[in-house]
């Protein structure tokens, strides 16, 4: 692999290899240093003072952080279920029907993805305090409702995109056959279309879950003192100072996101493999 085998084998040329190595260093060094120093036995995180897991232990004694993590999981779970239902309905609607205003709906559907997060964040802040105030004293987890609705709003568009892509590979002959054999709309939807959609639904759900778990800006504006999420709590810690405990919390979140992403990739990969075979 040392010498280029063809004029376009850019990967074998040393200037490009050097470039790639530099970009790799830029992208990964900060994250690796963050992870390594979450195990550093020193409060000042600059120099290595030996291995410890005490920062992780301290996280599990931090009641506020654990509560924030619990909030994040509940919000991610519920908003994912909503996004899945609404997003799938959207995908099916656009795939199945022709109707007035369809092009407009398709255009508007892309907006929650491109509208600046800060603009959406402040819009939700105003909406849930001045227009439809979300009662603050509701019992947990109902007090998380405003954040859940906000998250479902930006993630259902993503789910609709993923599910629609999956629908594109659907074999229409199956519907014709089912109809010839006497199946009605509901039976076709339940027994033929939905089973075909399962990989798309899983991928969409994982995407929505990860987006919700990761969101900071929009949550920052919709959360109140009793509805802190994990990223909002980490932000408060970061503003205060750089500490190994923040490194440990970050490492755990990186690990969780990486696992979810790997799962999504693996499921989609398995799906693609099946299609190729």
């Amino acid at each position: 692999m040392g010498t280029p085998s063809g004029p376009l084998d850019y990967l074998a040329r040393w200037p490009l290899r050097l470039w790639l190595a530099g970009v790799g260093l830029f992208l990964y060094a900060p994250l690796l240093i963050l992870i390594v120093f979450s195990f550093n036995d020193s409060r000042r995180t600059t120099a290595w003072r030996g291995f410890t897991t005490r920062w992780y232990a301290s996280l599990f004694e931090d009641g506020e952080l654990l509560a924030a993590f619990g909030n994040s999981l509940v919000i991610a779970l519920v908003s994912t279920l909503i996004a899945l239902a609404v997003g799938t309905a959207t995908a099916l609607l656009l795939w199945r029907f022709r109707f007035a205003g369809k092009a407009a709906l398709e255009a508007v559907l892309g907006l929650p993805i491109v509208v600046p997060e800060i603009a959406l964040g402040v819009a939700f802040l105003v909406f849930f305090t001045a227009v439809v105030p979300w009662p603050a004293e509701l019992p947990w987890p109902l007090n998380l409702g405003a954040i859940i609705l906000a998250h479902a709003t930006f993630s259902f568009s993503f789910v609709a995109l993923v599910v629609r892509a999956r629908l594109a590979s659907f074999d229409m002959a199956l519907i014709e056959a089912a109809r010839d054999l006497g199946a009605g709309e509901w039976l076709i939807l339940r027994d033929i279309i939905l089973p075909h959609l399962v990989p798309g639904l899983v991928a969409g759900a994982l995407l929505a879950f990860t987006l919700s778990l990761d969101d900071f800006v929009i949550t920052f504006f919709t959360s109140g003192p009793d509805t802190i999420t994990f990223p909002v709590k980490v932000y408060a810690m970061v503003r205060f100072s750089v500490t190994p405990a923040v490194n440990a919390a970050s490492t755990l979140l990186i690990l969780l996101t990486a696992l979810l992403t790997a799962l999504a990739l693996w499921l989609q990969g398995a799906d693609l493999g099946k299609e190729a075979a």
């Binding site: 470039w19 992208l27 900060p30 994250l31 963050l34 109707f99």
Partner: protein
């Protein structure tokens, strides 16, 4: 089966159409409409806002102080996009022309930081750039072993954080994948024989890149530029955590109006200015794509 008219299965159509339409209307359009209304309003008391139809908030947003921040945000987003393009193009080229295994590995390597929480990536930069961070301690150690024996003074930590430089590093760090992925998608679709022909006919690699690859991949390049520019323009965390008092961007000013200054009408106007800039960028992209599609249809 072709798409069917709605009346062929009215019940199913209604069941599928109501949730997304209601959701978009009540939880997307309505909150944004309220903000839009507020942008033409004024504070009567702390929480009572009257929508008076005045343009005062927009006029204030275009006064020199805020106009400077708006222009600075555009400049930062522009510089970020340019750096991402220069850094990302060779990466996208390498991925597009790599073997299938190396290609997958490189794509995952680019995407992995992308999936890591934005706040955590910004924090990771903060930790290494700060005065006591790893870069300064490394530079200090080098200075101590090389420069001090030669008679230089004690090490002065490099000013790597709380300034414009740190914000730009943060913006590039966060947005690089936004550029690489569309570039890769465009390069992957190129007709390789054209590149080989250019090389065979005596053009060098750089000349081929500039005169063959870039023009052919232009729609993808425009996409990459817009997709990088839009989120960079509205970035909140990088200027907030890495910038100093003089490197705030428009998102930070918006946040301040809503959370500490409590001037919602003014914040709403700024927020909509940001939205309009975003829409202009999207319109440019749509126009570029339509033009290139038309050119392809002619050719």
């Amino acid at each position: 089966m072709k798409e069917q008219p709605a009346r062929s299965a009215p019940l199913l159509f209604t069941l599928l159409a109501v949730p997304p339409l209601a959701w978009l209307l009540l939880l997307f359009a309505a909150p944004l409409a309220v903000i839009w209304g507020y942008s033409f309003g004024e504070n009567r008391t702390l929480i009572d806002i009257a929508i008076t139809g005045s343009w005062a908030n927009y006029a204030r947003a275009l006064k020199p102080l805020y106009l400077a921040i708006l222009l600075k945000s555009l400049l930062f987003a522009g510089i970020t996009t340019a750096i991402c393009f220069i850094v990302g193009l060779p990466v996208a080229l390498s991925i597009a022309f790599a073997g299938p295994r190396a290609r997958l590995a490189l794509l995952v390597a680019i995407m992995l930081p992308f999936w890591t929480n934005l706040l955590i990536r910004t924090y990771a930069l903060m930790a290494i750039l700060r005065t006591e961070g790893q870069i300064n301690s490394l530079a200090g150690a080098l200075w101590g072993t090389v420069a001090v024996p030669l008679g230089a003074g004690p090490f002065e930590p490099l000013p790597l954080i709380n300034n414009n430089f740190a914000v730009l590093v943060g913006l590039v760090y966060v947005h690089l994948p936004f550029m690489v992925l569309p570039l890769y998608a465009a390069l992957d679709r190129l007709d390789r024989s054209l590149i080989e022909a250019s090389l065979d006919l005596g053009a060098g690699h750089l000349a081929t890149l500039w005169r063959v690859v870039v023009p052919l991949a232009l729609p993808g390049i425009v996409s990459g530029i817009i997709i990088t520019f839009i989120p960079a323009l509205g970035a909140y965390l990088a200027p907030d955590l890495l910038g100093g008092t003089n490197s705030q961007m428009i998102a930070n000013i918006i946040e301040r109006q809503f959370r500490s200054a409590n001037d919602w009408p003014f914040g709403a106007a700024l927020s909509f200015l940001l939205m309009y800039l975003t829409f202009i960028a999207l319109a440019v992209q749509a126009l570029a794509q339509r033009r290139s599609a038309a050119r392809e249809a002619q050719g």
